[in-house]
Symmetry: C2
Subunit: 338 residues, 2 copies
């Protein structure tokens, strides 16, 4: 089969690789219908992360079940399924408390930018759609695999909801879908921080009521002006840098909530500033599995269109061009078609 590997920073290749097979009775093999490139894939691409090379790329996927292990009962061959970046048993105490991405049996899922994928703990990880989806629904369902689920978690962690003024730091796919999520959760006002016209437009379409182009102290000042001088009730952080985390914390009113879902890189939070900020801080890897049934339902019933974040669609073999486009911010998010 064809599969995507990163051999080092900036070096993405699609190559022939052996097809995966059932290794554990709890595994499923799925034929990938669509995969995509994640903002977090850019960390190794930019040399910020240094994994063991070559790295099998991709952790966002929708597909059709090809084969299941003897211990798999919840999904069966032929079903259209969605999973996410961590496999989880969905039965342990941590899963049952809603934190499947910290499942005690958690396993990473990698190599989804390929024709086939082995998914461990398939019963706890994969969720089948009500049927084979119409073609136009597929990108939206794919978005649920990570970026929508992550934006949703960010909005929940920030306690976005009725009566709340929400600010969103980061105008990548996760930030944009954080806006969509805050809107779905009933937020009153949603301030997007973006200086990129196309992204501003999608932000507004997803529910942003205000745009702030400034960053740093000026950005914080703007947020405060829009929120009675106090700061937002809820701030979604969707970048993961020191600057964005402080931007998020400083934009939050005392007693407010920061939901941070950008994978932290080089972040050191100053304890005393955090202490006196009086904010609530919650985040981490989104328990996407927790939200999949709800998100699939919203998509299936055409209530939301999270797949609009895909503004570039390529063949799997063109993956390298997709990475370059996202790295250079020419594309918000790239969909790959095996």
């Amino acid at each position: 089969m064809r599969a995507t590997f990163m051999y080092g920073p900036g070096d993405v290749r699609v190559e022939d690789a052996p097809e995966p097979s059932i290794a554990e009775p709890t595994d499923a093999i799925i034929r990938i219908v669509r995969a995509c490139i994640c903002g977090s894939d850019l960390w190794p691409y930019r040399g910020v992360d240094a994994p063991a090379w070559p790295m099998a790329m991709g952790h966002e996927y929708v597909g059709v079940v090809e084969e299941v292990g003897a211990g798999v009962a919840n999904v069966k061959p032929g079903e259209f399924v969605i999973g996410s970046f961590f496999a989880s048993d969905n039965t342990c105490e941590i899963c049952r408390s809603g934190y499947q991405s910290s499942c005690v049996h958690r396993q990473g899922v990698g190599g989804a930018q390929a024709e086939y994928l082995r998914v461990p703990l398939a019963d706890g990880t994969l969720v089948a759609t009500p049927g084979i989806p119409d073609d136009d629904l597929v990108p939206h369902l794919l978005a649920a695999s990570d970026v929508l689920g992550t934006g949703w978690f960010g909005a929940l962690a920030a306690q976005a909801g009725p009566g709340k003024m929400v600010a969103v730091v980061g105008d990548g796919a996760v930030g944009l879908l954080g806006i969509l999520s805050a809107k779905q959760l009933g937020a009153e006002r949603i301030i997007a921080m973006s200086r990129h016209e196309q992204r501003q437009q999608l932000a507004r379409e997803y529910g942003a009521t205000d745009i702030v182009e400034e960053r740093g102290d000026e950005g914080v000042e703007q947020i405060k002006e829009l929120t009675d001088g106090l700061g937002a009730h809820s701030v979604i952080e969707a970048v993961g840098t020191q600057e964005s985390m402080l931007q998020a914390i400083d934009s939050t009113r005392p007693g407010g909530h920061v939901g941070y879902v950008g994978v932290a890189h080089g972040v050191e939070l100053p304890g005393q500033e955090l202490f006196f900020s009086h904010t609530h801080l919650h985040g981490g890897p989104a328990p996407v599995r927790n939200y999949l049934p709800k998100l699939i339902d919203l998509i299936w019933n055409r209530r939301i269109e999270p797949g609009k974040v895909f503004d570039l669609e390529l063949q799997l073999d063109e993956a390298a061009a997709g990475y370059a486009a996202m790295d250079e911010r020419r594309a918000i998010k790239v969909l790959l078609r095996p």
Copy 2:
């Protein structure tokens, strides 16, 4: 009047000072009945904080109202009152949301280790007791001024409550009263981290079900062993150092809550560790004013005895000896009698 000043690290003196007078119409002057020394007073005493010297000491107090400004309506001369370390208007949006210690008109209160004290924003800051308290109630009411309110906030921020396994990092007065608070809030199991016999005893009296003497990784290991291998649901951090913060975060299960109330000193939280911990983090200066009515009620009706943390009572003029005793951990908390 006599008042306590710190002239530099380790240098505490009780001296003659002018009596305070009404400066703003919203002020009250109270005659201090009891004051005490706070764990946070030890930061400058140990040279960790470097304020402008000399520093007027004391921010925990109960007393009788002597005089009020023309704009004060809620308390009147002769009433027995309790305030806390920040003055607040108790009417702004932040106060109304329960965060009086981040009131938009917040002012620090200092100089309570003295015979008289000026309290700004008296209407929003002071709470009168139902009458003049019996002598034996006074230490308990004094505890409500800071350490009990702070422990209470820590327990609330950690979401201690029914069905929860709670761990408490720090066996000072705040940690001990965090235990009392968790117990009052209905926590199922309360693990005190302490290696000090007298404090362990009081911890058990206040509701601790288990004691862990180990610190660092071994301490975390012990907490996990006591909590199904997962970590506590709720951890109260009552120290404020890098070590204690990491101890608290590492002892919390994914999805659990850390309530941190030790004033952070030299703390830099590693973002990636925090991200993957999946914990909720909330804390800061306790909005004691929020809890005073509830806490006074519990004390007045003799449901709790937070004043047991005072294990040394001195005359105001002996304040220096009180600081030394707390610094050397010979006393948990020192009560001063003007």
